[in-house]
Structures are given as C-alpha cells and as structure tokens.
C-alpha cells in the first residue's frame, strides 16, 4: 500500500485570499486566547488543572473536542468508507456507555480524592511502582498520539494547500507550543471549546452537500447496498460468529473488545480526557463533564460517517490500488469537489483546529503527568510551586518537539484510526483493568497494580506483534486484531492482578477511603453549590438519558 503522501497534487484545493483570511483570523484568535489566559496562571494547579474552577459546559465541550481530533474527522470517515455503517459502533456502544460510567461511577473517586492525574490515583490506590510505570506508559503514549495528530495535519495541509510536510509540522507545532506554554490548561481548554464549534461549522456543510450529491440518504444507501452489499449499511449485519464481514469482527468482539475494553480504557482512564473533568469547579460539574459531552458524541457520527459513505459511492475504488485516493482522503476529496471558497476556508480551518485540539489535549496531559507525577515525585521533590510552573512550560516545549519526531512513525499506517486503536489497546486497556479491579475490589493488593499493568501491556503487544503480525492466528483486519489485543490485554491483566493479590498483602483499609467503591473520602461530602440541583443538571438523568438515546439510535440501523 502506498503512503498517502503521494496524493499531494491530486487533492490540491483551489484556495484563495478569502480562505486564507478565515484561516489567519483563526490562528490569531488561538494565540490571543493563550495570551489572555496567561494572567490566570499563578500556581501549578492553575497551569496544569485550571485551578479546578471551570464550569461544566466548558469542560464538557473540551472533553468532546479533545476526542474530536484526527481520530474522528479523517479516521472515522476512512472507517466508514472502508467498513460502512459499522462505524456507528465506535460511538453508540464504543463511547456512550463508557462516558456515562466515567461520569456517574468513577468521577466521585477521581475528583473527590483530589488527585491531579490518573497515575496519581494509582499512587494512592496501589504503590509507587504502579504509579511510575503508569506515568511513564502514559507520557510515552501521549507523545505518540500527539505525533499522530501532527502527522495527519501535515498530510492534509500538504495535500490541500501544497505546503511541504515539515512546514506544516513546524507551524502547527509552534502554535500548540505557544498557546499551552503561555496559558496552560485553561488556554488549551478554551481553545478546545472554540475548536468544537469551528469543527461543526466545517463538517455540517460537507455532510449536507455530500448527501445532496449522492441523492439523499435513500440514494446513498441504495447505491452502497448495490456496490458493497446490504450489510454495508447496517450496524449488525454479518457480524454473527463465523460469518465474514468487512470489519473482520463478530458481535462478541465488537461488544467486548470495542464496547467494553477498548472504549472503557480510552474514556475512563485516558488522562487526556479525564483531565478535562478534573479541571471542573466542583464534583457536580466534574460528573457532568463526560455526560454533557455524550450528547454531541451521539450525533457527531453522522457528520463523519455520511461523508465517508458518500466518498465510497463517488469513488467506488477508494482505498484500492485502482484509485489514487486512500480511505483517509474521503473528507479532503469531498472538500475539493463540493466546497466553494469561503466554506472551503472554514473547512480547512476546522480540520486544522481538530488536529491542533487532538495534539494539544495530549501535550497538555503529557506535561501534567511528566511534571506532577514523574518530576515532582521522583526527581526534583519539594521545590517551591513556581518552579513546577516553569518546569511545566519547559517540558511542554520538549513534548512538542518529541511529538514532531513521532509524527513520522504514524506514516506507516494507511488507516490512522487503526493505528490509534492499536496504541490504545497497548496503553489504555491495561490501565483500565488495573483501575476497575482496584476501584471495585478492596482486596487487590498494593503490588498487584504494577504486575497487572505490566502483564496487560505485554499481552496486548504480544498479541499484536507476534500472534497477529506473524499470522499465528488469522485475523482479517487491523481493526479486528485491535479488538482481540484489547481483550487479551484485559484478561491477562485481570488474571495476574488476582493471582498477585492472593499472595501479597492488601492495602490497609484506612488508606483506601475514597478510593474504593463503597468508601467515601472527606472531599466527597461537600454540599452541592447553588443551582446544581436543577433537574437538567442531575447527573443521573443526563447519564441515563444519553444511554437511552444511543440505544434508540441503533434501531434504524439494525434491520
């Protein structure tokens, strides 16, 4: 498979001064937010966690925006062009239940224990070895994922605007570096909220026009059913165990691998996401952060799936050697074909915004973990607070430079989404198993955290690199392999944790208050603040509402 870089000239957009003006205004505003947020950074808590003081609608939109990155826009459109309507699984079963679980069940422990990061929770629940290992794994993964976003950005900018890749990488890296270094997490979160709306303004016109182009929803599904078979436009068709389907996964691996293990691992323990909720101003706002994010998440699938499916109709040979276009090119191709100058500028801005949001989320969580979890606890302890703010700014710059390096690693995968899910199965899933067992089983011992994490990570990597890549077990697609890796990592981590716990000392009950289900920490007792008892702010209602809505969305795609 050739790398998508060869497409440069084929997709070049007819941009003009209007488009560049729109883009220029946006970049000026991005920097402006950074400078304006600067005066709010006084302590390390301001820099890394916005002083735990943001309202829920802001953290909620930042939560969804941190996820609405390269993964969503290009990756999910690519997924739809390649696998069809199965893409809905990544949203309705692969996101909503986990987001609701994070908000309703886990957030009291995260927010109530006052930890500043996900690894810090493991430090309290388990011991230093689990903490250090998880901090290092997370820091490493964050740089890799930031690199994916940077690479995707460079690819798109090169193809669409004709800038050389290195120019795009340096320019985008510089902007992210500048606004996070200056304004800290507040700047990152504010930019994410803005990005959310710009991304919508970019995707909605593309979706509407591409749907009109292929003759509406009926025209779209009719053409696809003819060319790709009926299963291509259903959610569950052909997913019986043993039957073949484009995804290479059956309903069991979808539900367990994607819906449970991968999705819970990503949404509930990936600090790039959880950090947004930890910056909320009180427990109620923290709980509502992922719940508010769940509602746009349910519907965003249409804005990426419809363009992807339309691209599969308009370019029937997309992704095969008979066409110049890769799956990842679905959205850029539609922009070129359908958008006049003006909206084109908005769309380019939206794409760049999405990539920068994804990169910034990872960089801003990386600098927090590296500073508060690695540097402040093991290297330079007990310095005054302003030292850690300065160090955080320095490590932000180093993180951005490192992710420029990892951008090139991402170039060996033709479906960016597959690459990301591979990384998540290595890094998030083992973290999730350690969390879930540690949070719900008091007996899980101090030592079991470290060994569970190590075993889970190793098992997922062995499954991917040895069992799948060497062809020991035949799994048809990368995505199918990711689901299996995730399940393998989960099971191995769980078995090792239970085994180690049975032979080692449990943590004293007094030290588990507020960390294990069924206990309460002093911080959780705080009364709800004024206005939080309004019915539309009730976490349980928001959470269950999202679950019911997501389940209802499946109905038209199931028959």
């Amino acid at each position: 498979m050739q790398t998508p870089t060869y497409l440069a000239s084929a997709l070049r957009l007819p941009t003009n001064g209007l488009d560049y003006a729109i883009l220029g205004i946006y970049f000026a505003v991005v920097l402006g937010i950074g400078f304006a947020a600067r005066r709010s950074v006084k302590t390390s808590l301001d820099f890394f966690l916005s002083g735990r003081s943001l309202p829920a609608w802001i953290t909620g939109l930042a939560f969804i925006s941190a996820n609405l990155a390269a993964t969503e826009i290009l990756g999910m459109a690519a997924n739809s062009a390649q696998y069809g309507a199965y893409t809905v699984h990544w949203y309705w079963i692969g996101a909503i239940p986990a987001m609701v679980f994070l908000g309703l069940v886990m957030m009291p422990f995260y927010y109530g224990s006052k930890v500043r990061s996900v690894p810090e929770f493991l430090l309290l629940r388990f011991d230093k070895s689990a903490h250090l290992l998880s901090s290092i794994l997370f820091a490493f993964a964050a740089i890799l994922v930031a690199g994916v976003n940077l690479y995707a950005l460079a690819l798109v900018v090169e193809a669409l605007l004709g800038w050389p890749q290195w120019v795009a990488i340096v320019v985008a890296g510089f902007f992210v570096l500048a606004y996070i270094t200056i304004g800290g997490l507040s700047s990152a979160i504010y930019n994410e909220v803005l990005q959310f709306f710009v991304i919508l303004a970019a995707l909605i016109p593309i979706t509407v026009l591409s749907l009109k182009k292929v003759g509406g929803w009926d025209g779209l599904t009719d053409s696809l059913a003819k060319s790709h078979g009926d299963d291509f436009v259903t959610a569950w068709g052909g997913t019986g165990i043993g039957s073949a389907n484009p995804l290479g996964a059956n309903w069991l691996t979808i539900v367990l691998g994607l819906g449970f293990v991968l999705s819970f691992g990503y949404w509930t323990t990936n600090f790039a996401e959880v950090q947004r909720a930890l910056s909320a101003k009180n427990l109620s706002a923290a709980k509502r952060t992922p719940l508010i994010a769940a509602f746009p998440k349910i519907f965003i699938v249409f804005l990426v799936m419809i363009p992807g499916l339309a691209a599969a109709v308009l370019v029937p040979k997309i992704g095969t050697s008979a066409s110049d276009l890769q799956y990842n090119d679905a959205i850029p191709y539609l922009m070129q074909e359908l958008l006049p100058n003006g909206v084109l500028g908005i769309a380019v801005t939206g794409l760049l915004a999405a990539f920068m949001a994804g990169m910034a989320a990872n960089i801003s969580s990386f600098n927090t973990v590296f500073t508060t979890d690695i540097w402040a606890k093991y290297v330079a302890k007990d310095r005054e607070d302003s030292y850690y703010v300065r160090f955080g700014r320095l490590i932000t710059a180093i993180g951005v430079l490192a992710s420029m390096g990892t951008a090139f690693l991402a170039s060996s995968f033709s479906n960016i989404m597959s690459y990301l899910q591979t990384l998540f199965s290595f890094f998030n899933v083992p973290m999730f198993v350690v969390f879930i067992i540690g949070m719900f089983w008091k007996r899980a011992s101090m030592k079991s955290g470290f060994w569970g994490l190590l075993a889970g990570t190793t098992a997922a990597m062995v499954n991917y690199f040895v069992i799948y890549k060497q062809g020991i077990i035949d799994i048809p697609t990368d995505q199918g392999a990711n689901f299996v890796s995730a399940i393998a990592g989960f099971v191995a981590g769980a078995v090792v944790m239970v085994a180690v716990s049975l032979f080692t000392e449990p943590k004293p009950v007094a030290e588990l208050q507020g960390l294990v289900y069924g206990t309460r920490s002093p911080g959780m007792a705080e009364p709800p603040s004024a206005g939080d008892d309004a019915w539309y702010r009730k976490p349980a209602l928001l959470g269950w509402g999202a679950v019911v809505l997501a389940a209802a969305c499946y109905i038209p795609f199931s028959f």
Partner: protein, 106 residues
C-alpha cells in the same frame, strides 16, 4: 518506606486551590466564541450574497456560503446574548488582591 498518602495529596491540592487565580482572573470564553462567529458569519454571509454561479454549481446548487454564514452569525449572537443575560458571577472578594501580581515571567 514513605508512601505518598492520600492526605498529603489532598493537603497539597487544597492549599494550591486557595492560592489559585483561575476563577478570579480567567476571561469568559463566550465573548471570544461570540465575537469570532459573528465576524465569520458576516464575512461568509457577504461571500454568499456575492456568490458566483460557478460557486453555487460546485456546491450542488446550494448557496452554501450564505447558509453557513447565517448559521455562524446566529451562533455568535447566541453566545453574545447569553453573556449579556448571564454575565460571569464576580469572584469572591478575597480571591484576588492586585498586590500579589508578581507572576513569574518565563
């Protein structure tokens, strides 16, 4: 072995929370979203009103600049009106004293 205890983390974070300046000094993002989208909305609406036939043909017969512009303008106005109706609640008086404005510059 001196393990980090939960109390230590909570004490540290609680102490930092009392000195935090975000709540008192961070500007309101609604102003930025409202301003940017109103500006984009005006630019796009004008572009839509002056749209050439070629641009409309390209967009499958839809004057997409006009519609996108109007949509963005509405969203921008929504944020500005919301800000007007529900301004940020002023922070508690003791949270911010101008005297300690010696923020380290990098």
């Amino acid at each position: 072995m001196s393990e980090y205890s939960e109390h230590e983390v909570q004490r540290e974070v609680t102490e930092l929370e009392t000195r935090s300046a975000t709540a008192a000094r961070l500007f309101d993002i609604r102003r930025v979203i409202g301003g940017l989208f109103a500006l984009y909305g005006v630019i796009m609406t004008i572009a839509g009103l002056m749209a050439s036939d070629a641009a409309i043909d390209k967009a499958v017969g839809v004057n997409i600049n006009l519609w996108t512009g109007l949509g963005m303008l509405l969203l921008g106005l929504f944020f500005l009106v919301w800000l007007k109706l529900r301004p940020t609640t002023p922070p508690t008086a003791d949270a911010d004293t101008p005297a300690d404005d010696e923020k380290p510059t990098r």
